[in-house]
């Protein structure tokens, strides 16, 4: 009875229109459907429309307007407003004996039919309205005995874009993806791949230029108003999601920043292929949300400090809770101390104190990216992640000791900075992050971890000792060692010892230079030519190779060891140089006075 009254009310209402964007929500409301109960059973439960024919004759069910016959359109004309281009996808099934036609019929101002579309279940249809079309109607005709169910309806104001399905890519460089991301993430991601940043106001134009393989949505970006409400299909983010769905472009929700519209996101998880987060609390929250969208707990991701500052004495920044004035005094005092206490023959080190921001973590990440070694009070940090990315202190006297230690020995600051960079390479890097995404999307990229061949040139017993000690303690795996010997007194013993080693190739330098090309000696990703005048620490080669690999560099000179003496270490991508003769490489990469 109530339903009957509702329908009468609907009939009495003024004619109105519905935008196609809202079709998915209005479709599953029984008040919006009109039919003859004697011919058809219609019920809507659990977001499913269930139709059952009672006759072998054709019977109609109309959406939104009550006309049972299209020829009587003039009486009522509640219609659907279309976009200039539309996609529609209706998911459902029928029993075999039932015939069905789902019609979307376009009309002009005079209510004359301009175009008729027959929609098949489970097929994406593209609707480009006729120029004279003003609106459309939706109706279902069934005949024969049987049942029909509609589970879902998807509409978008876009046509599907043409996209080549990729199951593998050769290298992260060839991956195309876009994202609604903070600038720090864009910068960091661009170190390992190419990302297109999307803005709320022009994402459509951006994506039209380059169709991405997938889309990465950082949850914190939605916290700001510019992307609008994710539940609103007409908001920028609502449209972006529709665009991805229309073209079957996977969308990944990445919950990195603390502030994000979690409540709304939880209701829209089905729009995403999967969710990534490093936060166990957030992880549990998503896990408990209804639906089957996978949620992965991943390590915290941050950018590796820029190569320009790698190994140089870093700028040290102390994050302080005190006021800016106090900071200024403190800074002056610290610098004065530094000048006074600067040890002779040491590179000066800059130590600066700045006000800690409300979002300390974000501030640290930005400082790290700029090449700062950050000193921060332990209490200012939530959780343990950042503790391994900064130098922490608990008391003021401890802070003073740290600063003093850096002033007295700037190399210590450089070592701490390298150590933090290494932690990021190992546990928090964007390359692993991208690898995980491509793997999860079954886009296996063929990038392998790099291998390296490190070349040493030795001509004295001391250099031999340096090389052996360096090689034995290196942490880097996937490394081959090549030693070029220029004879010196009793070099034969060194030669025989090296010949017996599995992991070292030793050659008479002048012979190798004349007779071998680089590609005869190595197939490694990188070659490093490292001076043997000194001994290197355990992580030296690993740090250099990681840096090259991470930043996709083709060559790299370690400047930190060139100070005051003709010592040099150069690394290069083998394929960029393998057409060069070995002798020319040696001349290019070893200082003149050391050329064989």
């Amino acid at each position: 009875m109530m339903l009957f009254i509702e329908k009468i009310k609907n009939k009495l209402k003024k004619p109105e229109s519905i935008h196609i964007d809202f079709l998915p929500t209005k479709l599953f409301d029984s008040k919006n459907w009109f039919h003859q109960p004697s011919l058809i059973n219609l019920s809507i439960e659990n977001h499913t429309i269930h139709l059952q024919s009672k006759t072998t004759e054709s019977a109609y069910v109309n959406f939104w307007e009550s006309s049972s016959s299209y020829s009587r359109l003039g009486e009522r004309h509640n219609k659907i407003i279309l976009h200039s281009q539309n996609s529609i996808f209706i998911e459902g099934h029928t029993t075999n004996s039932l015939n069905y036609q789902i019609y979307l019929i376009e009309y002009d101002e005079e209510n004359q039919q301009t175009k008729k579309h027959t929609i098949q279940l489970n097929q994406l249809h593209q609707i480009i309205p006729s120029p004279s079309t003003k609106a459309a109607r939706l109706a279902i005709r069934i005949n024969g005995e049987g049942e029909m169910e509609i589970h879902n309806l998807f509409t978008s104001p876009f046509l599907p874009v043409e996209r080549t399905e990729k199951t593998s890519i050769r290298h992260l460089n060839n991956l195309k993806f876009a994202g609604a991301l903070p600038q720090s993430a864009v910068t960091s991601l661009n170190a390992v791949t190419q990302v297109t940043r999307l803005y709320a106001h022009n994402w459509g134009k951006t994506l039209a230029k380059a169709v991405p393989d997938f889309l990465l949505m950082e949850a914190g970006e939605l916290h700001e108003a510019k992307w609008g409400d994710i539940q609103d299909r007409t908001s920028p983010i609502g449209r972006l999601i529709l665009w991805c769905q229309t073209s079957d472009i996977p969308m990944i929700l990445w919950h990195k920043q603390t502030e994000a519209p979690c409540d709304k996101l939880l209701t829209r998880l089905a729009d995403f292929k999967f969710v990534l987060t490093h936060d166990p609390v957030v992880f549990n929250m998503y896990k408990q949300a209804p639906g089957e969208t996978p949620v992965y707990l991943i390590p915290y991701t941050t950018g590796v400090p820029s190569i320009d500052v790698f190994k140089k004495h870093p700028s040290v920044t102390v994050l302080s809770e005190t006021t800016a004035e106090a900071n200024a005094e403190s800074k002056t005092e610290t610098e004065a101390q530094r000048i006074q206490q600067k040890p002779p023959n040491k590179q000066p080190i800059t130590i600066e104190t700045i006000q800690a921001a409300n979002n300390t973590e974000k501030q640290i990440e930005e400082l790290l990216a700029e090449g700062h070694l950050v000193i921060c009070e332990k209490l200012a940090l939530d959780g343990s992640i950042y503790q391994s990315l900064v130098r922490i202190y608990e008391t003021e006297s401890e802070l003073e000791q740290v600063i003093q230690a850096y002033q007295n020995n700037p190399d210590q600051a450089a070592d701490d900075y390298r150590s933090i960079s290494r932690t990021i390479y190992w546990k928090h890097n964007y390359r692993d992050f991208m690898h995980f995404i491509t793997k999860s999307l079954h886009i296996e990229h063929a990038t392998r971890l790099p291998s390296a061949t490190i070349v040493f040139s030795i001509r004295t017993e001391q250099e031999y000792q340096n090389v052996i000690r360096t090689i034995e303690k290196q942490t880097a795996s996937r490394v081959n060692w090549i030693v070029f010997i220029t004879p010196y007194p009793c070099f034969e013993q060194a030669m025989n010892a090296l010949l017996a080693r599995d992991n070292i190739q030793v050659y008479i330098a002048s012979f190798a230079a004349k007779n071998y090309a680089l590609d005869q000696l190595t197939k490694s990703t990188y070659v490093g030519v490292v001076d043997s005048s000194r001994e290197y620490d355990a992580f030296y080669i690993e740090d250099c190779i990681n840096t090259m690999y991470y930043f996709r560099m083709t060559s790299f000179v370690d400047r930190s060891i060139t100070n005051n003496k003709p010592v040099i270490a150069r690394f290069f991508l083998t394929t960029k140089y393998n057409h060069h003769s070995l002798v020319s490489l040696m001349e290019a990469f070893i200082p003149k006075e050391k050329v064989m």
Binding site: P280, Y300, T475, P487, E492, M495, I508
Partner: protein
């Protein structure tokens, strides 16, 4: 080479649980041709089982007590009688006893000093009865550790590795990069939800931590698949070794076996999987704990190294057969090697010589007979001798090949399977590289031990006017470039008639093979015609080939090496040792042996250098160079290489 004759007795009861150890024993001993192997079983049934597991290339004589009783005599009806019978017929030296210890005690006719008992982990340690045996074998690392704790037995115990595990002697770099933990066994198929939940709990609480079951990478985060920590929940040595030898700490269930081996204080024992919830985060955070545990794991893993244990077992067996080592020298020309041959003989090695008549001519029968007697075969020159001996050398014998330069032009080394060669000795850096480049000799097989000079033999005072005397030793073939020597001398004589050219060595007519080379003969005729027609012909002095070089050098101030090609060229080095100045043309590799001050690229440069000798440095500055090649030093290096 005397072969050690051993008898391995294997009882049925022992075979059941220690089949792998028995096979390993056969494998190790049969790899050494200096060991002759007999095996005795109790029953015909076990005889058949063992026969089936012996491969074709293993020389093993197999006996069974039951078979001996049937075939030989009904009286051979006990183990003791069978062993006594084999002692007489097969004349074995040593018995390896893989049977119950109490039965071994009954074998009173065999001296304990020639018996090695096998002591599995289930056997009781009866210290007093074991003391009498020179060695004890076991296939249990736990048993080995138990015995090692007994002072009187600790030197005797030898581990018989049941499987081939290679564990590098060099400790791997221990570093915990990502805290990636691998859990073994793979519980995916066993649906061990509890363990999965435990690991996921740790991951939720320690987000930078990641884990996986072995061989499963589905949700694995890092691009680098290297494991940092292992959890081995079934106390299985193979799985343990997989991680431990790579320098990774292994979390293990606490049991007696691992407690004995790693010590009760090993920090990574757990009682139950729940313990992982506290232990793993602690291990991730505590670098010292990580390092200590990983180091302990590696040290134990090293004990399992197959090669190390194999060597220990063979050394033990060879000690029953302590005997003078025999070295066989084979080649057509030993003139560069005599000091080493002499030293071998002088230091008590038994020296055999197989004198070949040329690159390929030799008495095959005699060579094979000599080979049977040799422990070490030393082929001087990589010619037909090397190709021949690599064909016949047996496992347990060591084959060395010393190459000079001539072999670069011959094809004999192409036929050599270098897997059968212990080392290829090259005599100069240049030759080492050339032999690798030309014949693809694996670099790992190459050794650099230069030619040798008896430096003391050349240290005599120079005669008057020696500084005006140029010397050259050996002018055949053409590539020795006597024409250059004559030209240098001629130019010097034109400025100072006191200069003389002394030529020592054989003449073209002394070499029959040279007569067929018309170009060479024409070349030499041209040089000698020039000498005979020159006004300075009286200043060219010829000396015959002979061993009087030290004396001849007393009259030489400048020693020439005018060759186009050389491997080492002893003459300039001998000249240096005598106090003469070497003038060496820049043949490939000359700069790797001789000081660059004495290397020239033209006749004019050589003339200028000789004229300005007074201005150049004293020869004594280069004493360390010729002393480097002193016979004493070089033969010591050869002795070390060949006999150590």
């Amino acid at each position: 080479m005397k072969r050690l004759n051993i008898l391995i007795y294997i009882a049925e009861s022992m075979h059941t649980g220690h089949h792998d150890a028995f096979l390993s024993l056969l494998q190790i001993t049969s790899n050494d041709t200096r060991i002759k192997i007999n095996v005795l079983t109790e029953t015909t049934e076990l005889y058949d089982v063992i026969k089936a597991s012996i491969s074709k290339n293993q020389e093993v004589k197999l006996f069974a007590v039951e078979k001996l009783m049937e075939e030989k005599s009904a009286a051979i009806n006990t183990n003791e009688k069978a062993i006594t019978y084999l002692k007489i017929t097969e004349k074995f030296d040593t018995l390896i006893w893989m049977g119950p210890l109490e039965e071994l005690d009954k074998l009173t006719k065999l001296p304990a000093a020639r018996v090695i008992p096998f002591l599995p982990v289930e056997s009781n340690l009866v210290q007093d009865s074991l003391k009498a045996y020179p060695f004890i074998l076991t296939d249990s690392m736990q048993q080995k550790e138990n015995i090692r704790r007994i002072e009187s037995l600790q030197e005797k115990i030898i581990y018989l590795p049941p499987w081939k595990e290679k564990v590098s002697a060099q400790i791997p770099v221990i570093v915990n990069r990502r805290g990636i933990t691998e859990v073994y066994p793979n519980s995916i198929t066993e649906a061990d939800d509890t363990l999965t939940e435990i690991m996921e709990t740790i991951k939720r609480e320690t987000p930078s931590f990641d884990w996986r079951y072995k061989d499963n990478e589905t949700d694995y985060y890092s691009l680098d698949t290297e494991t940092d920590i292992a959890v081995v929940l079934e106390a299985d040595f193979r799985s343990y070794l997989h991680y431990a030898k790579a320098g990774k700490p292994v979390i293990l269930p606490e049991n007696e076996q691992f407690s004995d081996l790693l010590g009760r204080d090993y920090p990574l024992f757990i009682q139950q999987p729940d313990d992982l919830i506290t232990l793993l985060p602690e291990l991730l955070a505590n670098e010292e704990m990580y390092y200590t545990a990983a180091k302990k794991c590696y040290v134990l893993a090293r004990e399992f190294d197959y090669e190390k244990n194999e060597q220990q077992l063979l050394d033990a067996l060879r000690s029953f057969n302590a005997k003078q080592e025999t070295i066989l020298f084979a080649g057509h020309d030993f003139k560069f090697l005599y000091p080493f041959i002499e030293r071998c003989a002088r230091t008590g090695k038994k020296v055999l010589l197989d004198n070949w008549k040329g690159h390929t001519k030799h008495n095959k029968e005699k060579s094979l007979k000599l080979l049977q007697k040799a422990d070490i075969i030393f082929c001087e020159w990589g010619l037909g001798n090397s190709a021949f001996y690599q064909n016949y050398v047996k496992q347990g014998q060591k084959l060395f090949i010393r190459v000079h330069r001539q072999e670069l032009q011959t094809k004999f080394l192409k036929k050599v399977d270098f897997k059968k060669v212990k080392s290829v000795i090259t005599i100069s850096p240049q030759m080492l590289e050339e032999f690798h480049r030309v014949h693809r000799i694996p670099r790992k097989k190459l050794k650099l031990i230069p030619n040798m000079v008896d430096t003391r033999a050349f240290q005599h005072p120079k005669k008057e006017h020696a500084k005006f005397h140029l010397g050259i030793i050996g002018i055949i073939p053409k590539l020795k470039r006597i024409d250059r020597a004559v030209e240098i001398f001629e130019k010097l004589w034109q400025e100072d008639e006191r200069y003389e050219l002394h030529i020592k060595g054989k003449m073209p007519q002394d070499f029959p093979w040279l007569q067929d080379r018309k170009k060479e003969i024409t070349y030499f005729e041209g040089v000698f015609e020039k000498i005979n027609n020159a006004p300075w012909k009286e200043n060219v002095v010829f000396s015959q080939f002979g061993s009087d070089i030290p004396e001849w050098l007393t009259n030489i101030g400048v020693i020439l090496s005018t060759s186009d090609l050389e491997a080492f060229h002893l003459a300039p080095m001998e000249g240096m040792a005598s106090g003469a100045t070497p003038i060496v043309f820049n043949w490939e590799g000359a700069d790797l042996i001789y000081p660059h001050e004495f290397i020239v690229s033209s006749v004019d440069e050589a003339v200028e250098k000789i004229k300005n000798l007074e201005k150049s440095g004293q020869l004594s500055e280069y004493q360390h160079i010729y002393e480097r090649y002193d016979t004493g030093k070089i033969t010591t290096e050869l002795m070390r290489l060949v006999f150590d």
